[in-house]
């Protein structure tokens, strides 16, 4: 597996897209810090952009990569290597290169602006962890989609829809439901619905650090318990770990049965 991972990673480093991705985040975070001159607002802007861009890039770039390396996969499959090994190797190669690109692009400007000694360091680390997890989750979705269908157009369609669903449509339906049922206690519902979407989950993880003052403004026992103690971070982290495994395990199952 490590060998496949290594080749996959080297393959990525030869791609100019990954460098563009790094450069994009470098420029974005540098520009935001330069314009705001304030770490806190830089961080909130970066949060918004990362939660939008990272899943998109991971899923689109991932699907593209898996479709393009199909021939290489076929070649590997002819060797006496286990299928899961090949797939896992490629998955980790993709997601770790994307994560590295993201980390590199953001760490440099933020460190230059002194994030390490500032009081938002923990929030910043939380953001990085959340976004890296999202990258892994959406790369997992990418490999899953490329295994489900061999039709590229269909695959891209699926991945764009999935991204759109997770980032916009889901929250829209969620908000609508909250509005329609505003007469009922919706605390447990809203927390569990948030847990069911990895993008929302990542957002909540960061909000637990950034917006805790306003989150505790709501008079509800469940919210207060969730946001006011370590329970919130515990539950969200455990769910995020579950989300990390879910697409990968599904892809392995599909990959095992697939007729290449």
């Amino acid at each position: 597996m490590f060998k496949v991972f290594k080749y996959s990673l080297f393959d990525q480093t030869r791609s100019k897209w990954i460098y563009l991705y790094t450069l994009f985040f470098f420029l974005v975070s540098y520009a935001m810090l330069y314009l705001n001159n304030d770490l806190m607002s830089g961080l909130t802007n970066l949060l918004n952009i990362s939660l939008l861009i990272c899943p998109l890039v991971s899923i689109i770039f991932g699907t593209m990569y898996f479709y393009n390396s199909r021939e290489f996969t076929d070649l590997l499959l002819a060797q006496p290597i286990k299928r899961t090994t090949i797939l896992l190797g490629q998955y980790f190669g993709l997601s770790s290169s994307l994560s590295l690109a993201y980390l590199l692009g953001n760490l440099i400007p933020f460190i230059l602006y002194g994030v390490i000694v500032s009081d938002i360091f923990i929030s910043f680390i939380m953001l990085l962890i959340a976004v890296v997890s999202l990258t892994f989750i959406f790369s997992g979705f990418a490999i899953m989609i490329s295994l489900i269908t061999d039709n590229r157009i269909k695959g891209f369609g699926f991945s764009i829809f999935l991204w759109l669903f997770m980032t916009f449509i889901y929250d829209g339906i969620f908000l609508l439901t909250l509005f329609l049922f505003s007469d009922y206690p919706m605390e447990i519902f809203s927390i569990s619905v948030t847990m069911l979407n990895p993008v929302d989950l990542a957002r909540i993880l960061i909000m637990l650090k950034l917006d805790i003052t306003s989150m505790l403004g709501y008079t509800g026992a469940v919210f207060n318990k969730f946001f006011g103690s370590e329970t919130g971070i515990m539950i969200s982290s455990i769910t995020l770990i579950f989300w990390l495994f879910m697409p990968v395990i599904l892809s392995m199952k599909i990959g095992k049965r697939k007729d290449f």
């Binding site: 607002s41 929250d171 306003s214």
Partner: protein
Amino acid sequence: MNLCKYIKLFVLLILFSQLQSKTLTVGQNQMFSDLKTAVKIAVDYDTIIVFSGYYKLNKLNINKPLTILGKNNPILDATNKSELIVINSDSVTLKGFTLQNIPNNFTEDWAAIRLNKSRYCLIEDNHIYNSFFGIYLNRSLNCMIKHNKIIGKAKKEFDAGNAIHLWYSDNALIENNYAGKHRDGIYLEFTKNSRIVFNTSENNLRYGLHFMFCDNNVYKKNIFRFNGAGVAVMFSKNVNMHSNVFSDNIGSSSYGLLLKDIVDSKITKNIIKNNTIGIHADGASRCFIKNNEFSKNGWAIRILGSSVNDTIFENNFFSNSFDISTNSTFNKNYYINNYWSKYTGYDLDKDGIGDIPYRPVKLFSYITANSKESLILLRSFFVTLIEFAESISPIFTPQNLIDNYPLMNPVKCWK
């Protein structure tokens, strides 16, 4: 000529020395062994010096003008039996004591130091620990409370007293005190023309500072933090709040500063940070909010429809979850020349003022008011999207709640 002047002065001095008061001492190997007898024997305007040591004492009434000084912090202990010092006379000075262990008493509101209808008193440099009420002024005019440290034992709001409590006590000066772990740090009711300066009030169960029916007061350069519900200023007019710090008041009904029926007041150069609600204005009218810094609050200002003719001018709003929120679709206040860290406009003519107006009320604050649970969707893209749509054509948010001249750079006025 000169000589004549000197002789006059000399005669005056001799006369004054006749008037000079006596000094009594209390302590081991001193004139008196306990304070009570010393107070009993002393005549008006005498000075009593209490040397360091531990004195058990219960309810000491002071009915004549005396100066009572503690040397090296003598401890007066009520041993949880009664209240400690009750001053019933004008011009009493009490300085340099440690007073402790006053039990709760709900019918009489026992305090470590109580002043009943006494004027011109000075309470200075005292440490008060473990007391029900700390310093209690009842109809006592023109008093000074300075450099006291008052730390209570409050655990529940209903059985706790206030650190400094003023009732109908005009013209007071409360300076440089520390009040902690009481119900209210500093409590004023029907107290006019007072100054509250350089105090620190923290870890109190209810309010750091609580004002009721107190006109023409000034409070400045105080620090109020980690209190249950922040600072409340109610039913008063002409209050001047200047250079205070309101911070870390977090909770569902917690405010940095609560304004309830306040008229003609000034709120200037305060730092308001890390509160659930920075300023909650309910019925605040003709107030002037200028040069304040609002940072990292949940809601920087929540201004209800009952507040009219307020001016919010040259303030800095940094990284608040919500800058302004309101429950009304009308706006009768003025927002001008503020710096909003969320402002995304441009300044083509480089005059430091953004070319497009800023709408500080977001649609999402309207949504959260209607369905509180939606707070969990804060910073979601869907919300950003509908907020963007709302900002182009406002329907739910007040149309004229707008800062037409937002600043491009923060106002600098604290350093």
